[in-house]
Every structure is written in C-alpha cells, then in structure tokens.
C-alpha cells in the first residue's frame, strides 16, 4: 500500500515526474476542467435564483472527475452518484439532462440509447453494486467493456460499498471503484468516517489493488484510472482508487459549512486547486495563454447556457407519465388510478 498519493504535478503545477500523458491530452483535460468549473458556478447561481430545486457543488473536484472519465471508451459503463456531472457529460450524458434533474423533473433521468451512463443515484453507497453487475454482464457477453463507479468518502461506510467490493473481488469483475475523498460527508470529516489509514487501504480486505492518488492532479488521476481501466479491460480484475480532493463549496446549496469546518482548511486547499495547477503546467509548456483562457470560458459559458435553455424548454412531465413509467405495460389497477387522476 503506497503511503503517498500518486502525483505528477505538485501543487505549483511543476512536473515532478515524467508526464504520463502527451500535451494534447493535457490540453484537452484542461479544456474540460474549465468547462466543469463554469458549469459548477452556473449551477450554484441557478439554484440561488430558484431555477434549480437542488444543487451539489463540486468545485475543487474537477480533475478527479474529468481526468478519470477521460480514460473510458465508448461502450464502457459509468455508474455515478450525485456529485459527478462533469464525469457524466464527459462520458456522453447530455448536460441539459443533468440540469433537468436538478430542476426537479424526471426528464433528466433518461440519457440517449448509446450513452452508457446510469442517472444520478441518491441513496449513498447503494449504486456501486450496479457497476459490479454491469461489468460482470460484459464478461458473460464476452466483451472487454468495463464499468466505473463514482462515490464519496462517506459512501465507503455503507454496507453496500463492502458488498460491492467483495463481489467485485470474488467475481474478478472489470470494475473501477473511484472514490472522490473530498474530506467531508456533509459535516463529518474523513477522520471520523473511518479509522482506516486511507480509504485506499480498504482494498486489502477484498484482495484488490488500492491506489492512492492526488485527486487535484489531473495527470495523476488520468494515469491511475487509465491503469485501472486497462487492468479491468484485460480481465485482471477490479481496482479501488482513492482520489484525495476537497469539496471547496457547501455539501449542497442547503448546507452551511461554517457550522462544521474552518475556512482555513478550505483556503489551504485552494492552494492545491486542480484547475490552476494544470493551468500553470500548460503555461510552463507554452500551451496556455490568457486569450485561450477567455475563449475557453466563453465557449464553456455558451455551452452551459445552451444546456440551461434546452433544459428549461424541455416538455413538462405530464401526470400520465407517472403511471406510464412504472411498468412496460400499464397494469389494470394502475390504469384505473391513471383515469382517476385524469378526472381530477
């Protein structure tokens, strides 16, 4: 078990080891991370304006999401929790549907047929098992597709995390368990969530590799995930990745972090910001200019704005759909209720 997280870029954006990716890839990651930050800012703003019902900010976690999702191939499965919009759209989930979900409509839960991303999962810890089943199914079908699942530090305390890890180990499933340890589960700090030295250590109990990675270093996240994906794809089995990062904002727009943590820790983490870190690296490589940054932000804003407009002009969820959505074929008893509801 590595005691120090995998890192390529130090907090100042200096390369401390040979980069595992070429510059093009680093540039692409940066572009998506800027988009992620633009999206997140927009999400917080929309919620303040009452245009979203709920929102779970992920500022600070852009590298963990973008760089991990970038390692996947079309056809691989993604099973997210609720704080990974960037990972989800990276893998094809339409941004407008993510916004739709947050607006409080069922329309957000249904990605296009060729998108293999499950919708947001709310019950903490419950969804990792689904990834195990998906990966297992691919093996049974003889494909080399893998499944990645995202979850937080808090989720590792749920029994279902344990069962998922254990099933994956026993089945040798092609599954990547990607833990975004952002230091907090609402108000509970990581130290009180578990007495384990690191979350990566938990892999020992399931006979799988546990990889600790600096979650704010996009290059490290990419490399760790790429390795795990390759391992899974080759049939060698699952990996647990702990990406150490930080939730810079509140848990949700209803949360007030001032109640449980000091702003100092947050400010300390700001010096390790994943976007700024990658920016410095690119700047050092001569691959970043202020003009390009402005362009990225403008393009990102335009994209997000467009997604918001699309989300806000989606058709409304009609009451009949409540009933029609339950089964492939409407059972008689529910049909009667549908009629009753229609008559009201």
């Amino acid at each position: 078990m590595a005691e120090r997280p995998l890192q390529f870029l130090n907090p100042d954006g200096q390369l401390i080891e040979k980069s595992p990716v070429d510059l093009d890839r680093a540039v692409a990651l940066y572009r998506d991370m800027v988009l992620a930050r633009v999206y997140d800012k927009k999400g917080v703003a929309l919620q303040k304006q009452g245009r979203l019902a709920t929102y779970a900010p992920f500022e600070g976690q852009e590298a963990a999401q973008v760089a991990s999702a970038a390692t996947l191939e079309q056809g691989d499965w993604m099973v997210p929790s609720y704080r990974e919009p960037a990972a989800m759209w990276m893998h094809g989930y339409p941004m407008e549907l993510l916004i739709a979900t947050r607006r409080g409509t069922e329309l957000g839960g249904s990605p296009p047929d060729d998108v293999r991303v499950l919708p947001v999962s709310i019950p903490v810890g419950s969804h990792m098992l689904h990834a195990v089943g998906l990966a297992w199914a691919e093996r049974l079908r003889g494909t080399d597709r893998v499944a990645i699942t995202y979850f937080g530090d808090g989720a590792t305390s749920e029994g279902d995390f344990h069962e998922a890890m254990n099933f994956a180990g026993v089945l040798n499933a092609g599954c990547i368990f990607f833990c975004q340890n952002n230091g907090w589960a609402i108000s509970l700090p990581r130290e009180e969530q578990t007495a384990a030295e690191t979350i990566a250590h938990k892999a020992v109990g399931y006979g799988m590799p546990g990889v600790l990675v600096d979650g704010n270093d996009a290059l490290a996240v990419y490399e760790a995930t790429r390795t795990a994906v390759e391992r899974a794809r080759s049939g060698a089995g699952p990996t647990l990745i702990e990406a150490q990062t930080y939730r810079m904002g509140p848990h949700s727009t209803a949360d007030d972090p001032g109640r449980y943590r000091s702003p100092d820790a947050t400010e300390e983490w700001r010096t390790r910001d994943p976007v700024e870190r990658l920016r410095r690296y690119l700047a050092d490589q001569g691959s970043w200019t202020p003009e390009w940054q402005a362009e990225l932000e403008q393009d990102g804003s335009a994209l997000v704005e467009q997604a918001v407009v699309t989300a806000e002009t989606l058709p409304t969820f009609r009451p009949e759909e409540m009933f029609d959505g339950m089964f492939a074929e409407l059972p008689p008893g529910i049909a009667a209720q549908r009629a009753e509801a229609g008559a009201i």
């Binding site: 499965w77 099973v79 069922e106 329309l107 839960g109 249904s110 990605p111 047929d113 499950l118 919708p119 999962s121 019950p123 419950s126 969804h127 990792m128 098992l129 689904h130 990834a131 195990v132 089943g133 998906l134 990966a135 297992w136 199914a137 691919e138 049974l140 079908r141 499944a147 029994g159 279902d160 069962e163 998922a164 254990n166 099933f167 026993v170 089945l171 759909e321 959505g325 339950m326 089964f327 492939a328 074929e329 059972p331 008689p332 008893g333 529910i334």
Partner: protein, 325 residues
Amino acid sequence: MASRTLAQAITLALDNALGRSDDIIVLGEDVGRTGGVFRITDGLRAKHGAHRVVDTPLAESGIVGTALGLAVAGMRPVVELQFMGFSYPAFDQIISHVARMRHRTRHRFTVPMVIRIPYGGGIGAAEHHSESTETIYAHIPGLKVVVPSRPADAAGMLRAAIEDPDPVIFLEPIRMYRSVKEEVPDDSPPARLDTSTVERLGSDITLVSWGAMMKETREAAEKLAASGVSAEVVDLRCLAPMNVDTLAASVRKTGRAVVIHEAPRSAGLGAEVIASLQEHCAYDLEAPVARVTGWDTVIPLKMAEHHYLPSTERIVTTAERVLAS
C-alpha cells in the same frame, strides 16, 4: 406431462428458462453446488454451467444489487433469496433501485429480474425462517408480487415472471413445496401475472387467500360443503399490482367473504383486499368481510407455531360467523 410437486415444477421452469436463453442467470447463496437450501436449483449448475448458476457470497443486498447491474446490461437474472426473513438486507436495493429504475430513466434502463423468495411458516424452522411479509413488497410501486399455490401454475407463473420485462417478486410457499402433486407440462406456457383464479365455485360465501394458506382455505371449503355451505374459493395469485376483478365478481355473487393470510393482521394484505372490495362492491356485501390471519406478534418457534398460523378450523368458524351475520 408428468405429476410434479411445486418444487419440481419450479425447478423445471428454471431449467427450461436456462435452456431457452443464454441471458438467464440464476444466482444466490448455495444455489450452485448444493442446489439451494430447498434443492430447487438442484442439478442446474451441472447442466447449465457454473457461470450461469452462480453461488454468490453471503450478502443479499450484494446479490440483488449486482443482479440489477446484470439486468440493466440486458441479462435476465433470477435471484434466489434463501428465506423471506433474509430478504430484508436487500430491501433498500429492491425498493430504491429495482422497483424504480424504469421510472427513473423513463424506460431507458429496465430491470427484468425475478427475485424468488421462499416464505411462510409451518415448517418448524428457526427464528426468521417463517416470515410472510408480502404486503411490504406489495406496497412498493414498480414491483410485481406473485405467489403460486399449485405446481402447474407455479411453472407457468415463473416462466411469465422470467419473461416479464419488469421486476417480479416470486414468492414460494415453503410448506407446499412437496406437499401437493399435479400434472405439470414438460414446458409450460407463461401464465398470467395479473389475474386471480376461481378455484372452486360456490354461492354462499367467498374464501380468498394466496400461497401456502390456500391449503387450509381449500380444506375449509370442503368442511363447509360437508355442512351444506357452498363456498367459492379464490386464489388471489397476483398480489401486486392487485387486480380484484375476479374476486369482486365472486363477492358480488356470494355477498360474503373471508380473506385468509398468515401474515400479521394489522396492515396486512388482507386489509387491502377488504378496502378494494369495499371500493368495488360495497353494496353487494351482505356482511362485513372477515379476516383470518396471523396475529400481530412474532410467529412462534416450532412448538407454538400452531397457535399462530390460521387453522382450517378458524376459517370455518369465521365463515360460519359471517354467514350468520
């Protein structure tokens, strides 16, 4: 066609399903090597392979949650949970995901899964092995909950459940596994999963039950017949979504009814039967519908179990009381 027990009929239906499609995968604790605690999957691993009849680790939530992943990927998992009392660790997966995935994704991702759950008392087992909490599952939107009480129906219902595009909780009455035999085709066609069956025609009173309690219900009808009472017997079969058309038609005819179940009375499924009848045919009722049920207590262990489970006698007495009122 051969004479088969309910257990054999279920084994046969599983065997046929495994033979019919490679998408079917049977999984659960001890279902492989040893054929399950009730030997329902006996022989299937040898015949269809260890990758299709899978002994899982001991974790019910894990089994159901993993099976959900299989199902979303297009497989058709048939899960066995060993006893209803051990389905509870999987409850969150069932209620929060299995039942809701279709609705959540507007038909984009679906869960064609069967969860087989042996249930009910009367076998003198240890604590937690005699549960009958069907009403809990029946209350969850998005699940079909069915229970056979005859071998031939069991085979057809299980086939239908496996072929159903939605999740089906398939309850198996433990104490009937080997207590009745009837002719079961070598390959049953799928049975309806949204109807009830009138098993015996009668004109004075309707007795309605499901699963294991059908035995005492049938016996009660016999006894009543011996004293000149003509009881109609309805096997509810499909507990959710419930379709009371057949039952209501029966009660419209007889004007009286007794509902029988072994689960605790309060908030049991008998209450739904009564409420539904009241909504469908209140004005045809000549007396209140009576309940013969388990008590609002923990079902006792072997030596006192008979104090809990509804007896034929209790059904007869209650029917007579209803007839007298």
